[in-house]
């Protein structure tokens, strides 16, 4: 159990600054999820915390001690590589136990931990295989297993479940959560799966271009995105956006050519300014599809997702997504005003 | 250990440089004569010819070894029957001392005893293959014999590189419909770059140290047509008992090599750094 505190970190790879002046504070025992588009620097950040990339500026403190230039093995971390990085000449069991054998853990203890990890990851029958004889998902599980047997202070997971099926994923998600509770370890977890992010994270950090856009509880990030990027990045599909102006003549209204919405109850951070150009964000589940909806719009695409459907409405040249639980036909909607977001059009920041 | 060896190399280099400035004969002692040995060296027609021979030889030998070695490695990699035997066949020349095999090559290439003789006796009266007795061509015969000796090693080296390539890549290339030879040329060859550069340096070292083969096959002849620097150095070091001149020659040889290899090494270490991350 150790906190991680990153200050002003800068990482260069090749010729480019992948991460520039990044700050991040992860509390001891916290479970933090990193989310962000492909190539935004998540793996790089994890590798830096692990000590595999040299920081060109800034500091990394783990458990209160400056670890910016410490050796990876001295940082008390475990890391699951996105690319697995399994030892090709060792079988699954040896891959998992390698670290323990190195630090002289007693044999019995090693066997216990490996057995536990193997069971948790359903690797039992594969313990004797070499990585080359495993499927993609199996390799990934071995990579996870290798990390968790270490029972480190800080766990770093780089998309550990991306190659697993939903069922296994759900199970492992739960197991990891248990592990987290049991070990009390700090965990930093990169994922693309919003369900994982939402369910696992104490707090989640949304990154873009090597910088953190928002760092808050999943709920806060989902409900009140800090800027347009976060608003559209999160959710599946992301927020529906409508450009317009604020009209303060009568309460506060959002208006554009096709829409008007009373936003008087919106918790403005600054007093709303008349005529300001803003962007209105509405989650698809807050698009209320009903026959008597104020906005009439033809359905252009229906995506059946099993548990729910996504209806895409062609609304004045843009697509508006709505999530409906059942087979209702769509064709008209209203916007529920309770969970909307408003952003400044120019700065893209939340109002 | 590494430091010991480094020390050994650096110190002996300095020592050699020092000796090259003296009039040392059998023993590495002698009066300081400045650059006298060097002046003498560059008046020596045989030395100049040796350097020139070395350049021609290096080009032919390295190119031939790399090409042949690569081809052998590639063809042996085709899951052929008798791989072990073939590999041994291609490698065995490397195990044989040139003192004897050089003689055999000399026989084979000899116009009377060897291929030409056999061909003529078989009735190909006009068949001529007398490179070894002609000044202009004798060097090529050394190339042939040394390629015979060294290309097996290149094969082994490249084979070890080939075998390190992940099987998935082959699959990807098969899907892309890339003919095998193209895969080898465009994908595998660049990936073998580290092995190739090892092979290149290895061969280059062999070139610079080329001695046995020349002595055994041609003794530098006819005339001085197949003289090479290492033989020059050896001759002056032992037979002609002039350590000073031999040292000067070594230094010149070393500097020449450096001038050629340094840019290559530099480029390679740059490349390594870039890809190594």
């Amino acid at each position: 159990m150790a906190n991680v505190s990153i200050r002003n970190l800068q990482i260069r790879l090749g010729a480019s600054n992948v991460i520039d002046s990044l700050d991040l504070d992860v509390g001891a025992g916290e479970f933090v999820v990193l989310l962000g588009p492909s190539g935004c620097g998540k793996s790089t950040l994890l590798h830096s915390i692990a000590g595999l990339n040299d920081a060109s500026a800034g500091s990394i403190r783990i458990g209160g001690r400056d670890m910016t230039y410490a050796d990876p093995k001295d940082r008390g971390i475990a890391l699951v590589f996105q690319s697995y990085a399994l030892y090709p000449t060792m079988n699954v069991e040896a891959n998992m136990s390698f670290g323990l054998r190195i630090n002289g853990t007693p044999k019995a203890e090693i066997a216990r931990r490996v057995a536990r990890a193997a069971e948790m990851l359903q690797l039992g029958p594969l313990l004797g295989r070499k990585p080359g004889e495993l499927s993609g998902g199996q390799r990934q599980r071995v990579a996870i297993g290798r990390a968790i047997v270490r029972e480190a202070d800080v766990f770093l997971f780089d998309e550990p479940l991306s190659n697993l099926d939903a069922q296994l994923r759900t199970e492992l998600r739960r197991e990891l959560k248990h592990l987290h509770a049991r070990l009390g370890a700090t965990m930093i977890y990169v994922t693309h799966d919003q369900v994982e992010a939402m369910t696992l994270a104490d707090r989640m950090a949304v990154m873009k271009g090597g910088a953190i856009q928002q760092f808050d509880t999943p709920d806060a990030v989902y409900r009140a995105p800090e800027n347009l990027f976060v608003a559209t990045f999160l959710g599946s599909p992301g927020m529906n956006l409508f450009h317009g102006r604020l009209d303060c003549s009568d309460g506060v209204w959002f208006r554009n050519d096709h829409l008007a919405l009373d936003v008087s109850r919106y918790p403005f951070r600054q007093a709303p300014a008349e005529g300001r150009r803003v962007v209105l964000g509405v989650r698809p589940e807050d698009v209320d599809v009903r026959a008597d909806g104020a906005c009439r719009a033809p359905v252009t695409l229906v995506e059946a997702m099993g548990a729910h459907r996504v209806l895409w409405h062609g609304f004045h040249g843009r697509e508006v997504a709505a999530i409906v639980p059942d087979g209702r036909p769509g064709g008209a909607f209203t916007l529920r005003p309770d969970h909307i977001s408003l952003f400044d059009e120019a700065t893209t920041l939340r109002l | 250990m590494a430091l010991t060896a480094l020390g050994a190399y650096v110190l002996t280099f300095l020592w050699t440089a020092r000796v090259s400035l003296s009039s040392a004969r059998i023993f590495p002692t002698g009066d300081f004569v400045g650059l006298g040995q060097y002046e003498r060296l560059f008046r020596n027609a045989r030395w100049l010819l040796s350097l020139q021979n070395l350049a021609v030889y290096a080009l032919l030998f390295i190119a031939a070894c790399l090409v042949l070695g690569f081809l052998l490695a590639v063809f042996i990699d085709q899951q052929v029957a008798g791989e072990g035997a073939l590999r041994t066949v291609f490698l065995y020349p490397y195990a044989m001392s040139f003192v004897a095999t050089g003689l055999v090559w000399q026989w084979i290439l000899n116009p009377e005893l060897g291929i030409q003789g056999v061909a003529r006796r078989l009735g190909f009266g006009g068949f001529t293959f007398d490179w070894i007795v002609r000044q202009e061509t004798v060097l090529y015969t050394v190339v042939i014999a040394t390629v015979w000796q060294a290309s097996g090693l290149v094969m082994a080296l490249l084979l070890s590189g080939l075998r390190g390539i992940d099987a998935e890549l082959w699959k990807a290339a098969r899907i892309d419909g890339i003919p095998k030879w193209r895969v080898y040329l465009s994908i595998v060859l660049p990936m073998l770059w580290p092995s190739l550069s090892t092979a290149f340096i290895l061969l280059f070292v062999m070139v610079v140290k080329l001695f046995d083969a020349v002595v055994a096959m041609t003794q530098g002849g006819p005339g001085t047509a197949s003289e090479v620097p290492a033989k020059f150095i050896m001759d002056y070091l032992f037979g002609r008992a002039n350590v000073g001149l031999a040292s000067a020659a070594s230094i010149v040889l070393l500097l020449t090599v450096l001038a050629i290899v340094a840019p290559f090494c530099y480029a390679r270490s740059r490349a390594l750094q870039r890809s190594g991350g």
């Binding site: - | 590999r87 004897a100 580290p194």
Partner: protein
């Protein structure tokens, strides 16, 4: 299930068919090339072999390709146990064990050192590594003979001249540049992530080396072994100068048999002796095959 119906119309037994006709034109080409190459490589061996079983009178006839009219294994026997190598006329067998004594530790140590050097240079990259490596590479180009005197002096000063440790040390020094280069370049091609993973697992310098890198080095080990065994087994000059009279390797006797300047030359014995001497490296070549395993990094990383 629906599938069951499909099954009913299936052909009853699975056809097993060879994947490809055994000899496609491409395959033929491969074999043609390999056989041609093998022929080129084997001609000198053939000449050596037939020469080694001909009596001298037949050799003097000068038909080097001809099969022996009266084959005799006398030259082989001679080479092994009767040929004169100076005052002694005991063939080359005398130095066999000396050669083994020199070769085994020299090969093992030089490969070990080369591997460690290469590993350190390509993964740990200590400060000044490149300079170190550059010097080592330059060292490879220094004609070895030039190093003789200073080495003799140094070893004499260390009290190792004319001793087994002395000659082993000399082989280490001479073998180090190429071994280092060999391993360094091989390791450079391995995925860096593996090393990173091992670092995180807490592996120290040595542990990562022998648990992870060594097992992955099989193919290059084969090459290294081929090179070093051959070089050291066949070394003559260094053994002569440094080994001391009690440890003279077999090649000194080989050289004494074939390299005589003004004495009579028994070509058949020469060839037999050469072939005999090379049996050890040849055996190694043949048995090194299993080290050339395929896909040594298979499944190590993706991407």
């Amino acid at each position: 299930m629906k599938r069951d119906c499909d099954l009913a119309v299936l052909p009853p037994a699975a056809r097993v068919r060879p994947r490809k006709p055994l000899l496609t034109p491409a395959r033929l080409g491969i074999y043609a090339f390999l056989l041609t190459a093998a022929l080129f490589f084997l001609v000198p061996l053939y000449v050596m072999l037939v020469t080694s079983v001909k009596p001298m009178a037949e050799i003097r006839l000068g038909n080097i390709f001809a099969l022996p009219l009266a084959p005799t294994f006398e030259p082989w026997r001679n080479a092994w146990q009767a040929a004169c190598t100076g005052l002694e006329c005991e063939g080359i067998r005398g130095g066999f064990w000396n050669s083994v004594k020199i070769t085994v530790p020299s090969v093992l140590l030089s490969i070990a050192i080369g591997a460690v050097n290469g590993y350190a240079l390509s993964f740990w990259r200590p400060r000044g590594a490149n300079a170190l490596f550059a010097v080592l590479m330059i060292g490879a180009f220094v004609p070895g003979q030039v190093l003789l005197y200073p080495l003799v002096r140094a070893l004499a000063a260390a009290g190792l001249y004319s001793s087994l440790p002395g000659i082993v040390l000399v082989h280490l020094v001479f073998g180090m540049p190429m071994m280092t280069l060999l391993f360094r370049n091989y390791y450079a091609a391995l995925p860096q992530e593996l090393f990173m993973a091992a670092r995180i697992d807490g592996g120290g310098f040595w542990r990562i080396f022998y648990s992870l890198m060594l097992p992955m080095s099989a193919p290059v080990m084969a090459v290294a072994a081929i090179m070093q065994v051959t070089n050291i087994w066949n070394d003559f000059l260094l053994g002569l100068v440094f080994a001391g009279s009690d440890n003279l390797p077999m090649t000194v006797q080989l050289n004494n048999i074939i390299n005589t300047t003004t004495g009579e030359r028994l070509y058949n014995v020469n060839m037999a002796a050469t072939l005999l001497t090379s049996l050890v490296p040849l055996a190694l070549y043949f048995f090194s095959g299993r080290w050339f395993v395929r896909g040594i990094a298979s499944g190590a990383v993706k991407g």
